[in-house]
């Protein structure tokens, strides 16, 4: 999709899309947390449990902000993302049952950066002034979250984490 098609034209569309995105992220992240726990990797699950709390706060904020507003219904295939999967939704194929907490956090930061790219595009290229202002607000919030995540990352880097090992590994080529 070219940049022109990615530009959101109204504040209602932006809010509807960001709300749908955050709800989807919460849902998909919860699936991943549950799956990691099922696979006895609660250390990585704990990292995502911390990030999902941040998403829940964002959802509440958007709900408060849009109270009384009539938001448009946007079919998933008409969402204006710059990638196939919505920007902050985990690149699911990068998760793994043996992933370490540090790898989990790096994945969360990667997705956070992709989300910021989405807002940066709206701020820099947007044609509607209200859209640009709201996108900038979201961008500031997301940048604050990234700072928080980086501080968690520093803590993790200082703590000793070993690579997880499967003593009954899958049947894959050696």
């Amino acid at each position: 999709m070219n940049n022109e098609k990615l530009i959101i034209q109204s504040p209602e569309h932006l809010l509807a899309q960001v709300y749908a995105m955050k709800c989807e992220s919460e849902d998909r992240l919860q699936d991943l947390i549950d799956s990691l726990k099922q696979h006895n990797n609660s250390a990585a699950a704990d990292v995502f449990s911390r990030t999902i709390e941040l998403i829940k706060v964002s959802i509440k904020n958007i709900e408060q902000r849009t109270q009384g507003m009539q938001l448009p219904e946007i079919p998933p295939w008409e969402a204006q993302w710059h990638c196939e999967v919505q920007p902050d939704c985990l690149c699911i194929e990068n998760a793994h049952y043996l992933m370490t907490p540090l790898q989990a956090l790096e994945l969360a930061i990667f997705n956070e950066k992709r989300l910021q790219e989405f807002f940066i595009l709206q701020v820099n290229k947007g044609v509607n002034e209200d859209v640009r202002l709201i996108a900038n607000e979201f961008l500031i919030q997301e940048k604050q979250l990234t700072v928080q995540m980086h501080s968690w990352k520093e803590q993790l880097e200082h703590s000793q984490t070993e690579q997880n090992e499967d003593f009954d590994p899958p049947n894959v080529p050696e």
């Binding site: 709800c23 799956s35 998933p76 196939e84 999967v85 699911i92 049947n171």
Partner: protein, 276 residues
Amino acid sequence: MSIELKPKDYKSDIKPVWCPGCGHFSILSALTKALAYLKIPKHQIGFVSGIGCSSRIPAYVDSYGFHGIHGRGLAVASGLKAARPDLHVIVAGGDGDGFSIGGNHFIHACRRNMDMLYIVMDNQVYGMTKGQASPTTAPDWVSKLTPHGSGIRPFEPLAIALASGASFIARGFSGDPSSMSKILVEALQHPGFSFVQVLSPCKTFRPEQVEWKKQVHNAFMEPTDDSALAAQAIHNDDGMGMGIVFQRDIPIWSLQHSDHDNNQTSIETIAGEFEL
């Protein structure tokens, strides 16, 4: 008063046990989006499966569901649709379930053209039983169990569906859930047997499939109703083309086409015909 359901509302409380990174999560997400978009009431969905990782999916959807036996999802679903034509019948399974032990049911379900959706979550491996080659596995895929590859040419689902008479044939990719949900919406709306092959990487047993994201491409831009053109498109396909390749309105089989009117005939009447 009808309550508007969100995609999340179509998920059950049962937690998926799929591996972290499994493509099947995205298929579940795309399907719930499609159901929410079409506003299909949960009590009007009958979800049937066979056996395998993918066949667990009915448990994760908050609808009527039946986790059947290996390869027999389509057979069970055919019976369900015959008895309850008012339901939206969805069948899901994997490549092993659908094309190996269930291969014969697949052919005849295509031929019968009952109004249902069949999703095959294809990861080209038997994941649940720890990574054996499946009908869609490439002949040169080397694993501990097939150290020299299987040496067998893979099953071609789209070609077989077309040759067998399926009236809707498409391929999606779990890494692109938005496009996939559009395909599923079209498939659910299509009157007749809709077959959707979804390439769904198995992160644990086929880690190399992470590269599929770079290999898939939009191939079937506009569905054709001409089977010769569809055959040509499938012949030219590299196995990674996405989209709806074939769609044609052809007569749907239901019990009304048999001697019995399903609204009038009781089970007792039918059973009575078989009494000696």
